[in-house]
């Protein structure tokens, strides 16, 4: 083997090659970041419950909060409320969702293809928007639906009032049905048609087959969806805040906030104790759910849905379609319409003089312009950070032995059990516990950090799904070809997951921009994203201005979506053109392969 290797064979590595480092720096940094973002806040939340002062202030260690929190009648009532709200709304929503999933996936219902897109849209609409829409629709005095019914059928008492227990639960059911539907639709779609055929051949009718074959097969999925609904119900915040306040309806999440925002001085220790209690219950339910659902978590659209036979509804087709239409009207069209409508009204309850006045007014407010900028910055930044973290975790998990990978995934799902209020609180404790980071408290970066934690579980799902589609051999082939692990990740993995990374980033940004709890609880001075401005406009009675701002937020999201989509299409077109041009050049010069154009290596 000569030292100055010509363009011949490669030299083999010398026998005294340096040993591989056991802990590469990048991996260590990722572990540290994950620990600080996901584990440390929970630990500090627990520690904080034993402190007598607010985060960052001198205090003493004390057990006072642990003994005092659960005695107060308000806390007990809030816990009871949370439980009732969560259970009732989940059961009703599951019934609706299962019915919708059955109708849209297994029957020949007219318009069935429109159901899934509609419910996806509802799923993506922030709860804040939803709650506001209903408030403007069904307020006892000024609600437009009430007014309309009164006009049609004669004036009298209000037909309904959405700002009550019944109203709150109804609205939650309508919204939650869309979430549970998206969980159920995958399993409904993945049902094996041959199982059905076997039952039909055995002489059991269509509906009998559904009851005896399909439903038992779906039991784990439905149970899992119910548990998920209960978890989400226990974490309910925005809707209760907006629809429940006139009746002083308190749940655990709002109670945690009122310990901090509603008390003087703020009682961080009690808020922490209540947070831990909520966290413990929710974590238990989450573990139970993952046991039941196994690996099939989140919206998985799997299985072949090809040419399966659908159940013929016969004469029930159109009545059932009308029923589905009614649900969509109630749950999607009316709330959206009422927000848009009231943004043009001079004031709720006044049905003349429609104008763009509110838009002009709020856009003239400096704090609204600030809010729009803040929202964009926070949403884009935290969405990007969460996706970057999630992709690193997904890639790392693949390189680890199964048990450590499972631990890593579990850790990354911790925030799933934390409502935004708890996350905000825990992150506050975490940041002040680290010397040098204290300055972050009350800043833009603290809000961003908390929102990264909030959106991480979602980002992890997106990242896992897209990384799972990449065969590890693609990366290994790059290593064999002489690329370092880092280089292989850039050349192969990042390039291939870029589209899903962008989609995940965008969706994470949307989720973040609708988050109300974190900015409300962290109350960073001078830092108000759109969601908290909408809330403060609403709670000060300026309903129409709040609506106008929500519409602007929605339009902005649609615009970004459109730009991103157009950009992606343009890129695809340019790429295929480039490839075609290249092919043309190569075909022209195919006789002389050595004079290959430079374009080929570009």
């Amino acid at each position: 083997m000569s030292v100055d290797t010509p363009a011949g064979a490669l030299r083999l590595p010398p026998s005294n090659f340096r040993p591989r480092r056991r802990w590469p720096l990048a991996r260590l940094a990722l572990y540290a970041a994950l620990f600080f973002i996901l584990v440390w806040p929970v630990l500090m939340l627990v520690a904080g419950s034993f402190r007598s002062a607010a985060p960052g202030f001198d205090g003493a260690w004390t057990l006072a909060a642990w003994t005092g929190t659960f005695d107060s009648p308000g806390t007990g009532r809030a816990m009871g409320n949370s439980l009732v709200l969560s259970l009732v709304s989940t059961l009703a929503a599951t019934l609706i969702a299962a019915g919708l999933a059955f109708l849209s996936e297994r029957t020949d219902l007219p318009l069935r293809r429109g159901v899934t897109p509609c419910l996806m849209l509802m799923f993506a609409t922030p709860a804040l928007f939803y709650a506001l829409g209903y408030a403007m629709l069904g307020n006892a005095y000024t609600g437009s639906a009430n007014k309309l019914l009164q006009t049609l059928f004669g004036a009298g008492a209000a037909w309904f009032d959405v700002e009550t227990w019944t109203g709150l639960i109804t609205v939650m059911v309508l919204k939650k049905a869309s979430v549970i539907y998206l969980f159920l639709i995958g399993p409904f779609r993945a049902l094996d048609p041959s199982h059905n055929d076997a039952s039909l051949v055995s002489g059991v009718g269509q509906f009998g087959t559904f009851l005896r074959i399909d439903l038992p097969t779906l039991t784990p999925a439905i149970t899992g969806a119910i548990l998920l609904g209960v978890v989400a119900g226990l974490q309910a915040f925005d809707m209760v805040l907006i629809l429940g306040w006139p009746q002083d309806i308190d749940v655990v999440a709002t109670r945690i906030m009122s310990f901090i925002n509603g008390a003087a001085p703020p009682d961080y220790a009690r808020a922490s104790v209540l947070s831990i209690a909520l966290l413990a219950v929710v974590a238990l339910l989450c573990i139970l759910q993952s046991r039941l659902l196994g690996r099939r978590s989140f919206v998985t659209v799997a299985g072949k849905s090809g040419g399966r036979r659908r159940i013929r509804l016969g004469r029930a087709r159109w009545p059932l379609a009308a029923l589905v239409g009614l649900y969509l009207l109630l749950a999607a069209i009316l709330p959206t319409g009422s927000v848009v409508f009231s943004s043009f009204q001079p004031f709720p309850g006044i049905y003349e003089g429609y104008s763009l006045q509110h838009y002009r007014n709020i856009l003239a407010l400096p704090r609204v312009v600030d809010a729009i900028q803040t929202t964009f910055a926070v949403a884009l930044l935290s969405g990007f950070a969460a996706m970057a973290l999630a992709v690193s975790v997904a890639l790392l998990a693949r390189a680890l032995p199964p048990r450590r990978a499972a631990l890593l995934r579990f850790v990354s799902l911790i925030p799933l059990a934390m409502p935004g209020v708890v996350t905000a609180l825990a992150v506050s404790w975490a940041v002040v516990s680290v010397p040098g980071l204290k300055q972050l408290y009350g800043s833009f970066w603290l809000v961003t950090l908390a929102l990264v934690v909030v959106v991480t579980p979602f980002a992890i799902q997106v990242a896992n799904a897209s990384v799972a589609q990449l065969s590890p051999e693609l990366q290994e082939a790059a290593r064999i070809a002489g690329a370092s692990p880092f280089r292989a990740a850039i050349d192969v993995v990042l390039r291939l997951i870029a589209p899903s990374f962008l989609a995940g980033w965008f969706m994470a940004a949307i989720i973040v921009s609708g988050n109300l709890e974190v900015p409300l609880l962290l109350r960073a001075p001078g830092l108000n994203p759109i969601s908290s401005v909408v809330y403060s406009l609403y709670s000060s009675g300026d309903f129409s201005a709040a609506s106008a701002l929500l519409v602007i937020l929605l339009l902005a999201k649609a615009a970004i979506w459109g730009i991103a989509w157009a950009g992606y299409r343009a890129w695809v077109v340019v790429r295929s053109q480039r490839r075609r041009r290249l092919l043309g050049v190569l075909a022209g010069g195919s006789g002389a392969p050595l004079s290959r154009p430079a374009a080929a290596s570009a």
Binding site: A9, P13, S15, I480, L496, L586, P593
Partner: protein
């Protein structure tokens, strides 16, 4: 350039364990390696053969550096690349290897040209644009695929993708080529053609090749030497002829298609030639026996149904290895018929040349074969030691 000790591969006491999940178990896990010693010579085409889960792919991945061995030493061309005891591990990008993956692993976002140029850009930095184009062109020409440089992998057929993967593996002229069941996703005809191309590329590239497969026909066609693996260990090592004609254990015999196995006892020995009395038989069978097996010891007689010939009529008096037989159902295998026969009260599989019967009548109830006999050439019968057979039974029960 490739020196005389150039690109041999040496595995010493190679072990690879996988975490066994929740429970700790002593049983070997699928794909684990349990103490493997191999010396692969420079320039050799070496095949690792075995059923799925025997550890052959894990062995290949350890040589590539895609898996870290748990114990043992791996040396490529005299340089140690993995020695966990010494804390030494050379990552794959620092080993002079090329590899063809089972799924081809072509990068879908790169053109054929870019896929093939990739190893050159990383392994042989500083090539001019013209040199790069020339090397890529030469590699594509070697695999018979020039003129498709601008295509994307998705626009190629399976066989073309396979060739691109091969070009990418050889383009940087590695001294060691690794193949992980590269032909298993192709149809039979294409597989045969590519097999010949692989062997030709190996000759022209001039390095060492290690090839993993579970297909004995592939091993036979490609290999200079074959290692049969089982449960993470080496079961038998030899040339294709040695493996296919003289399996050393029951496992290898069954794996390479010895479908008649009869337990019994060695009764007489004359050099390699030996007489063997299967249990319950009245006459002995003559076959080949390894030196280790002594007269009186129990053993296992193994032969292929293709070598047990069924013939009509009564056997000639005193003919060696000829036994009266009754024919049962007959199946048409394409190049011959296979017949179920009863010999000495035992059911065996025998074969019938196509010329011996016109196939008329009922295949499952053939006419006129009740008076028949079978013959077996002594060279086609192998007598295996029973110790191995007993071990096999244990392994199968586990």
């Amino acid at each position: 350039m490739t020196a005389s000790n150039g690109s041999g591969v040496s595995l010493q006491g190679l072990r690879k364990y996988f975490a066994a999940g929740k429970r700790v178990t002593t049983a070997p896990k699928r794909g684990a390696i349990d103490g493997l010693d191999l010396e692969i010579r420079d320039g050799e085409f070496f095949v690792l053969l075995g059923p799925s889960g025997c550890g052959k792919t894990t062995t290949l991945r350890c040589i590539a550096g895609l898996e870290e061995p748990s114990a043992g030493r791996i040396a490529l061309g005299g340089g140690v690349v993995a020695d966990p005891a010494a804390g030494l591990f050379v990552p794959p990008e620092k080993r002079a290897i090329g590899m063809v993956f089972q799924s081809y692993a072509l990068w879908p976002h790169m053109s054929v040209f870019d896929n093939v140029a990739y190893p050159l850009r990383h392994r042989r930095k500083g090539l001019s644009r013209e040199q790069l184009a020339r090397e890529v062109g030469a590699a594509l020409e070697l695999v018979g695929l020039d003129g498709l440089e601008g295509r994307g992998p998705a626009e190629l057929s399976g066989g073309q993708q396979q060739r691109v993967a091969l070009a990418r593996a050889v383009v940087a002229r590695p001294s060691l080529l690794l193949f992980d069941e590269p032909l298993s996703n192709l149809d039979a005809q294409l597989r045969q053609r590519l097999r010949q191309d692989l062997r030709r590329v190996h000759e022209e590239a001039g390095g060492t090749s290690i090839y993993v497969t579970h297909d004995q026909a592939e091993a036979l066609a490609l290999a200079d030497r074959v290692a049969v693996m089982r449960l993470g260990r080496l079961e038998q090592l030899g040339t294709p002829t040695e493996i296919f004609l003289s399996p050393a254990t029951r496992f290898v015999a069954e794996f390479v298609g010895f479908d008649n196995l009869l337990p019994g006892r060695l009764t007489r020995r004359d050099g390699e030639r030996a007489s063997f009395l299967p249990d319950g038989w009245r006459r002995e069978v003559v076959g080949r026996a390894p030196a280790a097996l002594a007269v009186g010891q129990r053993g296992l007689l193994a032969f292929r149904s293709a070598n047990l010939r069924l013939e009509a009529g009564v056997a000639a008096q005193g003919a060696a290895n000829a036994f009266a037989a009754r024919a049962g159902a007959i199946a048409y295998l394409g190049e011959r018929f296979q017949a179920e026969v009863t010999v000495e009260g035992q059911r065996l599989l025998a074969s019938l040349p196509l010329a011996a019967w016109d196939g008329r009548g009922d295949l499952h109830h053939p006419p006129g074969w009740h008076e028949a006999h079978v013959t077996l050439a002594p060279g086609d019968a192998v007598i295996l030691p029973e110790a191995a057979a007993a071990l096999d039974a244990v392994a199968e029960a586990a």
